[in-house]
Symmetry: C2
């Protein structure tokens, strides 16, 4: 039995990365759950940013930003960066997070996050009170401690924080269920 | 110590919903991990769909689609709908999934998925070999069995399947870590 919940911005699960940008001597940092891949050719991130966000101004001015995946244990810092406006506040310093230089873009990486993505803005669409920021991925970084022997990111080692909308909770990932491009093959074979 | 991994379409974690659409007497179904919220005013979904996807044609023709969140246990069906092209195939029938009428749109809901979103297309942007499909949310549905007493979706009861890019695995969610808009308050208070 299903119940209608009306119009709600829910999707499960959601990531909860820290977005960083810099312009001149200003730097900004905020948390976003409304983010996903917008294309594969080239790999491009899409994220919805409230138009009043201070860091949006830095993203627009510099044309660059980074996406930093926090691990479990960073929930207080992640939550703080979502609650507080960056207007006149250095959230890196306030949260005790370390900005380190990226390889390609001027925006800093968050050192404490074990996976980091560098993006160059390729488009910004006005969507009501939000801006849909499209950023082409120009480099990715992973901490050696979260990589498998073959150089892939092991999500169990990464232990990424996720966001649960509606209940407004942070959760951890659990266990592997199945291999993709494999578990569905028996259905294909009996077609 | 960080290692550069070059340009890769990675983000952690990712959802892995089933997208359904219908036009005339055709219906289509496929799996997408490249999806996120594109705006909050009004709530709008953004998803990257390969331009060759059969269901994209139905989405373009009807201007509507549904997003259906699968639970753990549906991994074979989800994987099948990602592997196989819908050209001349009824994937609902092949995977044993049940199409049921939505409330607002012509696209069917997937009955077996405990959370469903109805969307009306508000824009399609060309992004290389992909189309970034923007869909305004016009209704959401949840199975009574996954709702809390106050009518919120309980992610533990929902038990959504998630996709892990790179390793190409399906995982389950784990445990609650903290309350959002709460766990970061001590950092704000000592500012």
């Amino acid at each position: 039995m299903k119940r209608q919940l009306s119009v709600k911005p829910l999707l499960f699960p959601m990531p909860t990365p820290l977005i960083a940008a810099a312009h001149g001597d200003e730097r900004g940092l905020f948390t976003v759950a409304w983010i996903g891949m917008a294309s594969g050719t080239p790999p491009t991130i899409g994220m919805a940013v409230r138009s009043s966000r201070n860091t949006l101004r830095l993203i627009q001015a510099s044309g660059e930003f980074t996406v930093n995946i926090p691990r479990v244990g960073m929930e207080a810092e992640v939550d703080f960066c979502g609650i507080v406006s960056g207007e006149g506040v250095d959230k890196f310093a306030a949260a005790g997070l370390t900005p380190v230089p990226a390889s390609v873009v001027s925006a800093p990486l968050v050192e404490e996050c074990p996976f980091n993505i560098e993006c160059r803005v390729v488009g910004i669409h006005e969507m009501g009170e939000y801006r849909l920021v499209l950023g082409e991925i120009v480099e990715t970084h992973a901490d050696e401690s979260v990589l498998t022997a073959s150089g892939k990111v092991d999500i169990g080692l990464l232990d990424p924080l996720m966001y649960v909308p509606g209940m407004q909770e942070y959760w951890a990932v659990g266990r592997k269920v199945a291999d993709a491009y494999t578990v569905g093959m028996p259905i294909k074979e009996r077609m």
